[in-house]
């Protein structure tokens, strides 16, 4: 009996290790995404951002986490205490569970389900209950309005995102994350280039789904204070934050897997571009070197040492990433290159996708709720349906009628864009005709 259990555990050691890694590392990653966001924001706004805790604010996330841990956990008197207590956990659990079917490189995946991508989408959609129940149980108008907005927004944009994903799935012909990436490898083109409209729809819808600006209405600080999180404090609040950033990683991973070639290197099947294999190591070396360059300029001895340590760590990573380039090592451990470099490229793409989120956040004002709904229902959803139709037609043209890729896909993309233009034009015309005057 006990032996059976142990044997069973040994047989699933790799998923177990990945799962523990995700649960343990993801909060840290989320913290550092917050730091990155603050740094990017500071850079765009002519400021420095956090500079005090650790060199260049490198320890800021840890300080923030500590502060939130020891902060008082206030539960409002009139709230529904059990649900108030439980709601943030739902959000975090769902966000983390969604990571389980995603493949960060061929080596790092918990489970390769045959409904993989749908599983990710479905589970991350359950996170909405955390938001809605948290907002409702706070017993505050701001929270409730934030929660209702959030629910309406998520349900509307999930449709568009789902249809965009269907477009990608049609191209891949499978739901398993691993096979989707492998199909893109065989194709030679990432699906973002084959179906750019689908990628665009998913980009917009994923921003809306993660409640990020310019669609951050559920937590619009200038209107609803903090939306559904208004009554939360301390670590429960931090859990919502963790869920939000984990969700960002999840949608970025879906987009990377489905549209940006997953763990494949750019131009993976073109031998001329093999020099790109050196990029992971070189990039790490570069950043490490910069750390060494900055180290003497730090004000305190400890910070200097810390900076050197970070530089050394990056150089060790660079060496590890360089190992697969040595043919002997690569033969010794089969799949080493795909495993390590795959993870690097995947994380790089996820990072760039999240950077796009940040960029948009600091550039755009916020939509109003009715405008958001109009954009979702009258533009994105019709367009996503047309997009699925277009991809289907292109596939039939290509596979059954023998048309070349180069004609079939650009043709349907152009047609879809035409529809997009028409939808935009019609919406604009309707807006112009509608004079918003106080009705009373």
């Amino acid at each position: 009996m006990l032996m059976n259990v142990i044997q069973y555990l040994i047989s699933i050691w790799r998923p177990l290790v990945c799962a523990v890694a995700i649960v343990a590392v993801l909060p840290l990653v989320a913290g550092y995404i917050v730091l990155m966001e603050r740094k990017v924001m500071a850079d765009m706004q002519a400021r420095l951002g956090p500079m005090r805790v650790g060199p260049h604010g490198l320890l800021q996330p840890i300080a923030d986490a500590l502060k939130l841990l020891i902060k008082e956990d206030i539960i409002p008197d009139e709230s529904d205490k059990a649900i108030f207590w439980f709601a943030p956990l739902i959000s975090v659990t769902c966000a983390m569970l969604a990571m389980s079917a995603l493949a960060i490189g061929p080596w790092f995946q918990i489970a390769d389900l045959n409904v993989g991508l749908l599983f990710v989408v479905g589970i991350s959609a359950l996170g909405i209950f955390g938001i809605v129940l948290g907002g409702w149980s706070s017993n505050s108008h701001y929270s409730l309005l934030g929660a209702l907005r959030s629910a309406a927004q998520l349900v509307s944009y999930e449709t568009a995102a789902g249809m965009a994903i269907v477009g990608g799935l049609l191209l891949a012909g499978t739901l398993s994350t691993r096979e989707i990436v492998e199909t893109q490898g065989d194709y030679g083109w990432w699906f973002a280039f084959v179906a750019p409209v689908g990628f665009f729809i998913y980009l917009v819808a994923s921003i809306a789904e993660t409640n990020r600006a310019p669609f951050d209405l559920p937590e619009a600080e200038s209107e609803l204070v903090a939306g559904y999180m208004t009554e939360y404090s301390g670590f429960r609040w931090a859990l919502y934050f963790l869920a939000e950033y984990t969700n960002m990683v999840v949608v970025a991973s879906i987009a990377t897997t489905l549209f940006l070639g997953g763990w494949l290197r750019p131009f993976a099947s073109t031998p001329i571009f093999n020099f790109l294999d050196y990029i992971p190591s070189l990039l790490m070396l570069l950043v490490g070197g910069y750390c060494f360059y900055r180290a003497p300029k730090q004000p305190v001895q400890v910070q200097k040492l810390f900076m050197v340590a970070v530089g050394l760590l990056l150089i060790v990573v660079a060496i590890i990433l360089a190992l697969p380039l040595v043919p002997a090592v690569n033969e010794m451990v089969p799949g080493l290159k795909e495993g390590l470099h795959g993870a690097f490229w995947f994380l790089l793409k996820v990072g760039l996708y999240i950077y796009t989120f940040m960029w948009l956040r600091f550039t755009f004002p916020r939509y109003r709720f009715d405008q958001l709904m109009r954009l979702g229902w009258q533009f994105l959803i019709p367009l996503s349906i047309v997009n699925v139709l277009g991809i289907g037609v292109a596939l039939v043209l290509h596979r059954h009628w023998g048309w070349s890729h180069w004609i079939a896909f650009p043709l349907t993309t152009a047609l879809t864009l035409l529809v997009a233009g028409w939808l935009g034009w019609a919406g604009e015309k309707k807006d112009a005709g509608q004079v918003f005057v106080g009705e009373l």
């Binding site: 059976n4 069973y8 529904d80 649900i83 389900l113 045959n114 409904v115 749908l118 599983f119 989408v121 479905g122 589970i123 959609a125 359950l126 909405i128 209950f129 809605v132 129940l133 409702w136 149980s137 409730l144 929660a147 209702l148 629910a151 309406a152 998520l154 349900v155 999930e158 739901l175």
Partner: protein
């Protein structure tokens, strides 16, 4: 062995949550337990090698229909209904009748158990991956019902809008 444990866990979870759904006073709590019951059922689907149905259950039932329920519950003011009597006056009669229905089912299962060879399901390896299989069956033999179902959804959508809108 492990299968059995997981199955019993999910079954117990589903039954306990179902009981709580029909007995809770607070509608929001009922809805939460209904979600739990639905997710437990999804787990059982997974064990029965119905992966596609498992994910449909999560996306559509838990993620879609229940969001709608929770949304409506929050739109409607709850405080009044919390202080009302929760059960019918004839609740005992209904309860008895429902138990009779349950007993009939139990009897049917007990009688038919030997004749239906219920203990011997087809081996898992003999099945195609269920997603592809469902797709094939759905879009070949059951094409017409599928289209009818989509029209049903359209009708329901229009109906819901007509019902809920104040002024059309």
């Amino acid at each position: 062995m492990l299968d059995q444990i997981i199955f019993h866990f999910f079954a117990a979870l589903a039954i306990v949550s179902a009981i709580l759904v029909v007995t809770r006073r607070n509608v929001v709590q009922s809805a939460i337990f209904l979600i739990t019951a639905l997710l437990a059922t999804a787990g059982i689907f997974l064990q029965l090698h119905a992966e596609f149905l498992f994910i449909v259950q999560i996306i559509l039932y838990a993620g879609g229909i229940m969001v709608l329920f929770v949304f409506v519950i929050m739109l409607i003011n709850l405080d009044v209904s919390l202080h009302q009597i929760q059960y019918n006056r004839q609740w005992w009669l209904g309860f008895l009748l429902a138990l009779v229905v349950g007993a009939e089912f139990a009897l049917a299962i007990a009688v038919g158990r030997s004749q239906l060879a219920l203990g011997e399901p087809a081996p898992a390896s003999a099945l195609e991956p269920s997603t592809q299989l469902v797709g094939k069956v759905l879009f070949s033999e059951y094409m017409l019902p599928f289209e009818v179902a989509s029209i049903l959804l359209l009708v329901a959508m229009i109906g819901a809008v007509v019902m809920a809108k104040k002024k059309i």
